[in-house]
């Protein structure tokens, strides 16, 4: 799970959304930020990451990625954009196939610095 999250960060920062999308299950859901309606499925996830990578944002880990004793892993990072930063904690859960089944991004208005 930690390797998948590291591949997520690396693929994102390499400007390669396909690498990121390939980490997800076909019917995965993304709730980013937590509190927004989730998006579901490979097409919606591909569009989401294409847009985010195209924005020029880069991800910088704030601390080592955490695993668990179950099917979840988590990471604290900062999204660096040209004119702002967002401090985020992502929690991903995984299916038996090793693919990400859910992603939830914890950040709110007060986690944005401009």
């Amino acid at each position: 799970m930690k390797a998948a999250l590291q591949a997520y960060v690396d693929g994102f920062n390499a400007g390669d959304p396909a690498v990121v999308v390939a980490l997800f299950a076909d019917d995965a859901t993304i709730e980013d930020p937590v509190g927004n309606p989730p998006i579901t499925g490979r097409d919606a996830i591909a569009e989401f990451y294409a847009n985010n990578v195209a924005s020029g944002a880069k991800l910088s880990l704030d601390a080592p990625i955490r695993g668990s004793h179950g099917n979840a892993a988590a990471m604290a990072f900062t999204v660096e954009m040209p004119n702002m930063r967002i401090r985020v904690i992502d929690v991903m859960t995984f299916g038996d196939d090793g693919k990400i089944s859910t992603m939830r991004a914890h950040w709110g208005p007060a986690d944005i610095e401009s």
Copy 2:
């Protein structure tokens, strides 16, 4: 929610488990680490924090606490113990009364340093 998580860290580090326990709803659940059977209810939670605080562990935030656009907040921290460290990400959800309703602690065997 961020103030509650900061109070959690401060109460824990002050050696005052009652401060921590008071942040939780009466029927709250704790899954620590994620993958373990949850514990439920004020008595079990009080025992859990009494034991943890008594161990001499201290919590050190690795990055600013994150909020969300929903009912969740999250924080990355390191548990400092006399002979080891555990890197953890906690995610708490909150009820309408502002009390913590669920706590999930993300850490695994590879997040322990001795």
